[in-house]
Amino acid sequence: MSGRTTASVPADLQPPRSSPVRRRRPGWAPYLLLAPSVVYLVVFFVVPLLQGLRLAFTGEDGAWGLATVHELLNDPGFWSSVWNTLIMLAIILPVQLVLALAMSLLVNSKLRGSGFWFYVYMLPLGISELTSGIIWYSIFTQQGWLNSVLQDLGIISHPYIWLSYQHQLLIIATIVVAEAWRSTSIIVIILVGGLQAIPREYSEAADVFYASPWQKLWHVTLPLLRPTLRTALILRTVLAFEVFATVIALAGSSLSVLATKANNAYTQFQEPHLAAAYGILIMLLSLLSTALFLVLLPVRTE
């Protein structure tokens, strides 16, 4: 995961090949510097991962086996939660990508005040997922702000029930709106980084050939942004699999995704084994989607 570019170090900063100073071996310093993050990863990622695997592949009696996997597949609402997760992902990814691209092009345009927009876009990053869910619930609920505005404008006569369990796609749409507001800025940060790393010469060369802004975007910027886009897509997909507070706030028990099933299994029904099995499934799907992006969007190494 990174927004780093593949630009190489300029030649004048590289040490001369036949340097009279003998290169010293780095010694222990790099390992010591790496140690805190390695310890952090082991304690907070590797250990919980192993614990999760143990829970998912043991039954309530502690015996190893596939009992929990069987329970997972037969859990009421399992398949609908898989579908809901995939549908949500299929809508949210393109919506956020287009939005983030437009936003980062605006920030990068060097127009007057474009820096201001960067700070405005970053505001939702400071708000927790649950708080964002509650804010959007107060907008979409029957006596919420959206209906008040629509009624004041004379567009509707009665408050419309946006969050009705009878309209699953409408609930998904509200979740997409809430998520787009909350997390598009993460992609914007990555894309702005990528855009700023594209040397200006490419754009100037396109200008020489009288390329229109659209042609420049399509034939110059996007191909050069490809590695960054891939990173952003991978990150966003993995995070989208983990979204649950927004879904719980807006959908309650009307609709579930894999992450809400995992959360409910642990907190509401106190079934750590089942919750771990959901967690492992989410991890596998995240790995699978990452692999897909790596295969479908290959980046040429130069």
Binding site: G77, Q143, A251
Partner: protein, 446 residues
């Protein structure tokens, strides 16, 4: 470049200094905890999974516990029962003796008792004889033959209606003696007249709709619970419920506390736990009426809720924890609990304080009216389920989800969930509890 700036020896020195510092800090903190941790402590640590909203916790600290003269109390409330139980178990297993008092519901203590040793509270109950705890509550406090907690707070589930809804009440119906058929007719009339469904139920994952089925719908329609789970009477109950659900606000799956949609006007008539309705009644006592749940063909099924206080065996402050329990069950403190927290004392009606605020007093009266109603069927809270309590609740949530939300056929849903229910009871080796007739072996799903 880095290795040129800091030599290896330098880094090692830095590392040694850091390690030394950490060791020194560890020693210091060990001394600190050794000094304060041995023997009893003037500060009592009190954990609960009740009173967890910001206002409730603030009132508990500022108005209830502030009057305790036996030392300072650190009160922490968890909104999540699992977290609460995990914390109590972790504290107890760590053996630090840092946890002195636990406040939870009867079911929490059953779950805790299966994991950690809770102190036998018979001596405390004996010392507090003058509190006159009703025998029914004392029976509930007995887990595996010994009193594991002292009755502390009670509540029940009630109905609240906006006064605007009363104009749509079917002719001949009285809210205080409502039947389920009248409730359906009322909800249908409201929807017809107002153009939108105005009856609501707390059906979100944090809502208590499972208790609606366990303590209200099943006993009222079938006279039982587990032994009637898939009976013909249960099928007609679910058929009735589908009709009611059709005129229920379809946003109900997002409602956790019904006081909020009642106050916003999204819902005019609702059923919920007394505590989860109290904001509406306290803030706008003139706009709402509160009354008992309806009666069904078999009577008025209802579920009393009992919260208690327990001391973990690992506590090193037993004497002070006991004096805090004594303080919390004093009549004056209990009346603060009613006005500030909307929880009622576990005492008979005659011991209720007289000068209560209008909304709170109405709730207290509705609870008394429920227990005293003709044909009242009191459900015991699930007994003997232990670690299976959540799996038991899941059966009712899943049945509701299948039948009401996913429109699955009633009989086949009851058959498959009935099988799950039987395996839950079997795993817990639980005998039947009221309103089901007592059983000798494991309760059999019928």
């Amino acid at each position: 470049m880095f290795h040129r700036l800091i030599s290896r020896r330098g880094v090692l020195r830095l590392g040694a200094a850091a390690a030394g510092g950490a060791a020194a800090a560890g020693l210091l903190s060990a001394c600190g905890s050794g000094g304060g941790g041995s023997g009893s402590n003037s500060n009592l640590v009190f954990l609960s999974d009740q009173l967890s909203t910001t206002e409730e916790t603030a009132a508990m600290r500022g108005k209830v516990l502030s009057g305790f003269k036996g030392g300072s109390v650190t009160f922490t409330a968890f909104s999540d029962t699992t977290q609460f139980i995990d914390q109590v178990v972790a504290h107890s297993k760590a053996g630090s003796g840092a946890l002195d008092l636990i406040g939870g519901l009867q079911g929490d203590f059953v779950a805790l008792d299966a994991q950690i040793p809770l102190r036998d509270m018979s001596d405390v109950i004996n010392e507090l004889k003058d509190r006159n705890f009703p025998q029914a509550y004392l029976d509930l406090a007995k887990i595996k033959g010994a009193y594991r907690f002292v009755p502390w707070i009670t509540a029940s589930y009630l109905m609240v209606a906006n006064k605007k809804a009363l104009t749509h009440l079917p002719s001949g119906a009285d809210v205080n003696t409502l039947t389920y058929d009248q409730l359906l007719a009322w909800a249908q009339k409201m929807k017809q007249a107002q153009g939108q469904p105005l009856f609501g139920l707390p059906a979100s994952p944090k809502g208590l709709i499972k208790r609606f089925f366990q303590g209200y719908a099943y006993p009222s329609f079938t006279g039982g619970l587990n032994t009637q789970f898939k009976s013909a009477a249960a099928v007609s109950m679910w058929q009735y419920f589908k009709q009611l659900w059709a005129v229920t606000n379809p946003q109900s799956p997002t409602y956790a506390f019904m006081q909020e949609p009642l106050l916003s006007g999204e819902v005019w008539v609702a059923w919920d736990h007394a505590v989860r309705l109290s904001d509406a009644l306290k803030n706008q006592p003139d706009n709402f009426v509160v009354f008992p749940a309806p009666s069904g063909p078999k009577g008025l099924g209802y579920e009393p809720v009992l919260g208690g206080l327990a001391i973990p065996s690992s506590s090193k402050n037993v004497a002070k924890a006991k004096s805090l329990i004594s303080y919390l069950t004093e009549q004056q403190v209990q009346s603060t609990m009613i006005t500030e927290e909307s929880w009622f004392p576990p005492v008979g009606d005659s011991a209720l304080p007289k000068n209560l605020a209008p909304g709170v007093s109405a709730e207290a009266k509705a609870i008394v009216a429920t227990t005293g109603a003709t044909g009242a069927i009191a459900s015991q809270l699930p007994i003997g389920l232990g670690a299976q309590s959540s799996a038991y609740d899941k059966v009712f949530v899943d049945t509701f989800t299948a039948i009401a939300l996913n429109n699955a056929p009633i009989q086949s849903s009851l058959a498959s969930e009935g099988a799950t229910l039987q395996s839950v009871l079997q795993t817990a080796k639980a005998a039947c509890w009221k309103p089901d007739p007592a059983s000798t072996g494991v309760c059999q799903v019928g």
